[in-house]
Subunit: 343 residues, 4 copies
Amino acid sequence: MSEIGVAVLGVGLMGADHVARIASRISGARVAVVNDQVTEKAERLAATITGCRAIADPLDAIADRDVDAVVLATPGPTHEKQLLACLEHRKPVLCEKPLTTDVETSLEVVRREAELGVRLIQVGFMRRFDDEYRALKALIDGGELGNPLVLHCVHRNPVVPGHFDSAMTVRDSLVHEVDVTRFLFDEEIVSIQIVKPTPNSLAREGLFDPQIAILRTASGRHVDVELFVTTGVAYEVRTELVAEKGSVIIGLDVGLVRKSAPGTWGGTITPSFKERFGQAYDTEIQRWVDAVRSGGTTGIYTDGPTAWDGYAATAVCEAGVQALQSGQPVAVSMVDRVSIPGA
Amino acid sequence: MSEIGVAVLGVGLMGADHVARIASRISGARVAVVNDQVTEKAERLAATITGCRAIADPLDAIADRDVDAVVLATPGPTHEKQLLACLEHRKPVLCEKPLTTDVETSLEVVRREAELGVRLIQVGFMRRFDDEYRALKALIDGGELGNPLVLHCVHRNPVVPGHFDSAMTVRDSLVHEVDVTRFLFDEEIVSIQIVKPTPNSLAREGLFDPQIAILRTASGRHVDVELFVTTGVAYEVRTELVAEKGSVIIGLDVGLVRKSAPGTWGGTITPSFKERFGQAYDTEIQRWVDAVRSGGTTGIYTDGPTAWDGYAATAVCEAGVQALQSGQPVAVSMVDRVSIPGA
Amino acid sequence: MSEIGVAVLGVGLMGADHVARIASRISGARVAVVNDQVTEKAERLAATITGCRAIADPLDAIADRDVDAVVLATPGPTHEKQLLACLEHRKPVLCEKPLTTDVETSLEVVRREAELGVRLIQVGFMRRFDDEYRALKALIDGGELGNPLVLHCVHRNPVVPGHFDSAMTVRDSLVHEVDVTRFLFDEEIVSIQIVKPTPNSLAREGLFDPQIAILRTASGRHVDVELFVTTGVAYEVRTELVAEKGSVIIGLDVGLVRKSAPGTWGGTITPSFKERFGQAYDTEIQRWVDAVRSGGTTGIYTDGPTAWDGYAATAVCEAGVQALQSGQPVAVSMVDRVSIPGA
Amino acid sequence: MSEIGVAVLGVGLMGADHVARIASRISGARVAVVNDQVTEKAERLAATITGCRAIADPLDAIADRDVDAVVLATPGPTHEKQLLACLEHRKPVLCEKPLTTDVETSLEVVRREAELGVRLIQVGFMRRFDDEYRALKALIDGGELGNPLVLHCVHRNPVVPGHFDSAMTVRDSLVHEVDVTRFLFDEEIVSIQIVKPTPNSLAREGLFDPQIAILRTASGRHVDVELFVTTGVAYEVRTELVAEKGSVIIGLDVGLVRKSAPGTWGGTITPSFKERFGQAYDTEIQRWVDAVRSGGTTGIYTDGPTAWDGYAATAVCEAGVQALQSGQPVAVSMVDRVSIPGA
């Protein structure tokens, strides 16, 4: 299949972010349809994207012939119906968590997909795609750390909306650590306990915050999670794995840090320019492509260092090669700046 | 302009990387043409990319009607002719450094572009697009650091090819710090000195390594650069800016670290999930799109957490909400695993 | 009182360390008496210290007229009797933990001291004197962090002796975090739970390791402690305080790290040479004093940089002052090395 | 020799610090005599220290029969005469840098000591006793890093006194890096260059600040030093050694950090409680000894955790052992607090 048409259902904070992502950074897909409970919001958004329509009914959007795949960013209570519609139309769907809001309907969705015999549903547990979590998973799977025993997690938000209640801490925040546990340990969680310490006096009255969740997995591993959603500081997501042959922390703002025998701590230096500057190359090329596409009206087809910058660098390096021989300071010789449009 | 056709000239290490990037991660562009001195290499590569042709002559490739823009990853000595051809055809070109291999031809290219009155040439100084360098530049431009005074740079490679000589340290390695200096300070470099200390006994005989470059800018700022290309360790690129009101280091493997009055050191915590997990979302969506595009043959249209993962998370969270009320451990109840294709 | 005479009871690992400390690094005290269950061990040690005697009976040692104060590093079961003897003789005593091995005898000791109306007993919870714990306590008491809510502790040993059992994890390891909690929070602990996860397969059969202790304080604060005594890595003691206005971690091998609004992480740079080089000055002077005291036999009364080092530094700085004026490299002029004894 | 009597000459900032050090933290020495150009200052200080006298003339202080050794913290221009007096009286002397203020007099002092054939003079280059510099030196001497090639140093002060001039940057700040270079490399420095970049506009008019010193050693090694004494931030002293088989940085506020093949960065975890809590034990015992010595008047002979703290810890651990067996939360049972003096 060449470029696919995607319908994004629900264009609030998360959905709008996905629309922008697909429209400007993702190769091989375009936003064909947007939908939202607030029809005007979808229409306004559609108008900003070439070839994109707003469709008022989410089930119509799923069924639309121009739609090859669906992103669900709608409220959780609507997921069941929308997921079943995707299955019915055999359209692949990326569903933001939760799958559905209760166990029975979740199980129903799982069974319907199993009956179809195809795998159409992906749940939006995005941490599985985060470079640090992937590196941690790779370390576990590589076996060097020995058997994993304990996971310490921290999940902190600076602030939450006014309607956020204690159960949402479990359903909306803890849910990520639930998936991280299952992803890293490849096994199910069998029991859960929630400790409610002295609450933060700066939080809304009645909100139990922080909470401490204590999980146990089928094989007996221990996971503890500090959930604190009114810290006033920043977004902090940290995971420490304690294994038989060392421990690893991610989320300390300093990359993945490992502790190993015989008593060392530290991380890995980027091995080559590809790892170190991969993001820079991607951004450079994407922005250059964007500049080229819009350059016709401006006569400026670049978004970065100009020919003059190239000339100046050559002039300095030429002096540098002389300086390499002499060991003395060498003056750099350059002509007066040549004027180029937009420079 | 909708999706643009790009010709990539030179498909060695760097060029092939750009081909893969444009083909799989960049929105709004496709690889229309590839070219290489080794014709077969270009042909083999073209065969793997839908809608891509190999063209044997670089000037023909530039002139091709299907080509809207050009990426130059050819050897430096061929750049002048190819750049002039791009200007002649008014095709935007992203030219890997160096612009050309000497000052005279570089200046000629600059002048031709200026005469045309359009800005078609971008030089591949990719560090200007690196998140850390951009954050550093933003800190300088924001004025909080006061006037920048000194730059300490480190440029270390674990190993270089056998033909790498002392002048290449200047032309191929130092050139990046030359551009970083000009980018961060917005002014020209007026003199350069190279110190040659005791050479690394593990380096090739005759190679001056390490070298210390000492630059002075027009306004009198000082830049020193350690260039050490046979460290045996890893790829280390570090820049420390010392300004009147604090200093900032990037490239220490721990993010941007700032030192400010009254005596603190540290960095910034990612403010929200967008910064923390932006890369994860991009990867999630790109891989999901790729899976959907290739799913027809497999019946598996996802590349991540399945509906079962969604069900399991819901089951744990439902138990968690009970545990929130009771304070006691609550067993998680789940059905036996439902089989889904590919799971 | 001028220099006090100390009796050290028990000269195993801990006691011998205290003997060496008092003999060589502590001002105002001398080791007057040593005692051990193994009489010869005490006698051998006494013979190495000027003015020190071995006394076979611990109660005689306590009562000795030359003893002004007592350090108890004997096995826990002997503490009660020895502490009561110290109280009877009104001798100040520093007692390594535990105070006694059960609650009843501990309480008896507390009551006897209270009846005497003097405060003679100090328990060896040395973390209260650690610079990082003190800095953390000062941050709490200063009020900037707001109300402390949660403490996450890690207590890891690389290895433990063969007789170490699961209860010792609680009595000998957790006891430190018990005191840290009481020290930092200034309140009592009201309940404790111990989670036993999958044990480390590399630990001795039958040892529950790791263990997770979950404490609750009188006001409702939560403390969790990972106790893992067979990590094979190193000695790791970490404490993270989570408070209403930020969090602080010590024990990450990088100094005290604080996270504060509006989203920054980091630490404090040593404000002056006193903090940065205080340890260096103490060591310099102590070693110089030691060298002077033993210099009579060698003719070498120093333990550091010589007059020649002073001359060389002056020669370089004199050339430096010339170089400051000229901006050019200045050769340093020095005579041939002058020979000094021991140099 | 038992406890030695020390004369401290010059009791300004540095000298007074040494007086306090010797009086309260150093074993085996006492401050017998103090001296200062401002006689009253010395007298006031002497009055606070048991057994200490002020002597108005520095040469009398050196000659005094009660003085076994001398600490010189007087202004540099007086050093020559005082050092020669120490040699004449054969008294060991610890001389704060500089040895003397010019090369000729320094050399004269070196020669006189050599003629005597004893080694009486130590220069106060205290960094040689700093734990981090010693660890770095040990790494070099251990040979694991291969041949050292380059040293990058940073020496930053937040502020300097009003009389501080550009030459003092060389004589008073750079002098430490001069000695560090000679200490780490075990060879002499043969040339020096000083670069004067754009000065800090926040510094005093006429002060060249920052300065960049470039040193070359006899074997050809390169050292660069950023000297910046008006940063407004804090006291920052950093040294990075670049060697053939890796690099090491100290002074980044995070302990010694090493980069090694195959691409790792990091440090060493403290191997045992002795390294981790050595400072805590020293402080605990010193403060306990001080409390015991002054306890007679207060009835409080301790400076730390009380018997009650010991009781409370035992009570919690006893509950912990029960909790270890049950896995359930166990309430901690304690009597009401028993009152002890000063608690």
